[in-house]
């Protein structure tokens, strides 16, 4: 039987109850009685926990006090004055008070140039990158350390707090990307010597905990050096962190490299691109884009792992916060809790920002690629 449509079928609105909030709630919150019960139970648990936290951190908390007295009262909540009193120390560590303006300058320079790099619409990316990756570290070092232009020397033993955490984390993060890329390429190299060296390094570093790397850097490293040569404690921590992060970064990057179809490489070769141009222009831009979440995961891990440097006697943010707990002026049952909560918030702000920024970059790089 032949059939020919005579008139166009009408386009109708969706039936009532299939779109809108009511339909969404029915579909997502209580599709069955049992899952409705689950929704209520989870919501109740969430509210209970939030209420307790709010009571402790807000309603019963002490907001201003000159010392431990009010915080030590039975039933008192969080001891926020401790945080306010110690906050400068948390940021600057034991850096001499009258020299802290030097640290501030580094912060201002760092934030401005980093923002310039991170916000896509800011022009002059090339100069900005040159400044941030080459000039800024040198300027920052001499501002921190001093010894030139009449600035008094501040030994690295006095560097500490959030500043130290950021020094180790940012250096490690910035170093881990190029080294990680080189290690990943080396691991896929046709040359057996290069490949084996890279595999041994990557697997060796990934096979031990970060604490071990730090201990090795601080305790064992001097044993291999000529007598009298004992590099700075902070330098060893930075190198240890950078190497550790590079090994993990290498594996993340390798994951991306494996996702690039062979045809991309063949097309680049057929056009006459050399190995490095092919990698730099064709393979890496695609591979790195795929692994942005993994890269940022590594960044966040390294940022948090820096707290382990306390063990080799550096006072990073965690170390300085814990040191404050022993201050007789502030000792109270709530001091530690409050300190750790504040610490968690600071770490969270940094790590969550990195996470959000990576999501933004992911969306941005996907733009135009989708149909």
């Amino acid at each position: 039987m032949a059939y020919v449509r005579a008139s166009e079928a009408p386009k109708m609105a969706a039936p009532k109850g299939t779109i809108g909030f009511a339909a969404w709630a029915k579909d997502k919150l209580y599709p069955t009685p049992l899952s409705g019960l689950g929704t209520v139970a989870i919501a109740a648990l969430f509210l209970a926990v939030s209420w307790n936290l709010l009571q402790w951190a807000g309603l019963r908390a002490v907001w201003s006090a000159p010392d431990r007295e009010l915080c030590a009262v039975e039933g008192a909540g969080a001891c926020w004055p401790f945080v306010f009193a110690k906050f400068h120390q948390w940021i600057y560590g034991l850096y001499p008070f009258e020299e802290r303006w030097r640290v501030n300058i580094v912060y201002v320079l760092g934030v401005i140039s980093l923002a310039g790099l991170m916000v896509p619409s800011v022009p002059g990316k090339r100069w900005n990158a040159l400044f941030f990756f080459v000039a800024f570290p040198i300027i920052a070092f001499f501002l921190f350390y001093g010894g030139i232009l009449g600035l008094p020397v501040v030994e690295t033993d006095y560097w500490g707090g959030l500043t130290l955490t950021l020094i180790i984390a940012v250096t490690g993060i910035v170093a881990s990307v190029p080294f990680g890329i080189l290690l990943a390429l080396g691991r896929r190299s046709q040359m057996p010597v290069v490949r084996i060296l890279c595999v041994v390094f990557i697997e060796g570093v990934r096979g031990v905990p970060f604490i071990t790397v730090l201990f090795m850097a601080s305790v064992m490293f001097p044993l291999f050096m000529p007598p009298g040569v004992n590099p700075d404690k902070l330098l060893k921590a930075i190198i240890g962190g950078g190497l550790f992060a590079s090994a993990y970064m290498a594996e993340v990057v390798r994951g991306g490299l494996q996702a690039i179809p062979k045809g991309q490489i063949e097309a680049a070769q057929a056009l006459g691109l050399s190995y490095w141009k092919m990698m730099g222009l064709i393979v890496m831009p695609q591979a790195l884009k795929i692994v942005i979440p993994g890269i940022v995961n590594s960044f966040i891990s390294l940022f948090q792992d820096t707290s382990l440097v306390t063990i080799i006697g550096l006072f990073d943010l965690l170390g300085i916060v814990q040191a404050g707990f022993n201050d007789a002026k502030w000792k109270s049952p709530q001091t530690g809790n409050t300190g750790y909560l504040a610490l968690a918030i600071i770490y969270f702000i940094f790590c969550f920002s990195m996470s959000r920024y990576s999501q933004y970059i992911e969306r941005r790089t996907n733009r135009g690629l989708k149909k």
């Binding site: 063949e266 070769q269 056009l271 831009p285 690629l369």
Partner: protein
């Protein structure tokens, strides 16, 4: 064919042999392609046709015999390989456009980075070739936004932007929807009529009839028959060729 062209063949393959492990994939290949000549290579899958043309720009390495491209011997010498790749353009079955770059960037990348052409000049040339493949309006889109036929035409334009003397086509229409094959073949015919030296692995027999100077039939790593399209289709010499033609021409 002029005498000058006869002196330096575009491609010269002499007793070329190649193995994948123990598998002998190219056996005693002897092939001369004169400048301006159009060769169509066909044969059943696994017969070594793709491997053969991929040896010409060293995407595959041969283990025995000599290959010279425009007089440059293909050896382990990296400079020679680079020189050959500048002379030889290639179009792949799966297009292999760079998805993170716009069409314009796809076309100008190699001229800028390999030939050191100034950007403006490279873009001008790119627009010329995009016009030639009839899609100048797509210049600022990304490959993912184009249809298969359009992508393949961009891939042809990309190869042409390097001003190659020889073009290799590795089953350029095999991954296309039937509706899009024609637009790609038209571009290839246009190119052939412009005098480009071409080696095409393809099963488009109408295309072979229309433009090929010679048709080469391969089976099991050997060149079984080499003939003019006229003879090849109407009077094939080898029984193996006859069997193959029966299969594909219905």
């Amino acid at each position: 064919m002029s005498k000058a062209n006869a002196k330096t063949p575009a491609v010269m393959m002499r007793q070329v042999n190649k193995w994948y492990g123990q598998f002998h994939v190219l056996r005693d290949i002897n092939l001369n392609v004169a400048a301006g000549e159009r060769i169509v290579i066909c044969g059943p899958s696994g017969s070594g046709k793709s491997t053969l043309i991929r040896c010409i720009n060293r995407l595959e390495e041969h283990q025995q015999g000599d290959i010279e491209v425009d007089g440059i011997p293909l050896t382990a010498n990296l400079k020679n390989i680079d020189d050959v790749r500048r002379e030889v353009g290639m179009v792949f079955q799966s297009f292999n456009l760079f998805p993170h770059l716009t069409i314009m960037e796809n076309l100008t990348l190699a001229p800028i980075w390999v030939r050191k052409t100034p950007k403006a000049q490279a873009e001008e040339a790119a627009m010329k070739y995009l016009t030639r493949v009839k899609i100048p309006e797509q210049a600022h889109k990304y490959p993912g936004q184009l249809s298969g036929g359009q992508q393949q035409r961009v891939a042809i334009a990309r190869a042409l932007c390097m001003n190659p003397k020889i073009m290799l086509f590795d089953e350029p229409t095999s991954a296309l929807d039937p509706e899009m094959i024609k637009e790609v073949l038209e571009v290839m015919v246009d190119l052939a009529e412009g005098g480009m030296t071409m080696l095409c692995v393809t099963h488009e027999m109408a295309f072979a009839r229309q433009v090929a100077d010679r048709v080469i039939f391969m089976d099991e790593g050997q060149i079984v028959e080499e003939n003019t399209p006229q003879e090849f289709f109407t009077n094939p010499q080898s029984p193996r060729t006859r069997k193959f033609l029966e299969q594909i021409l219905h």
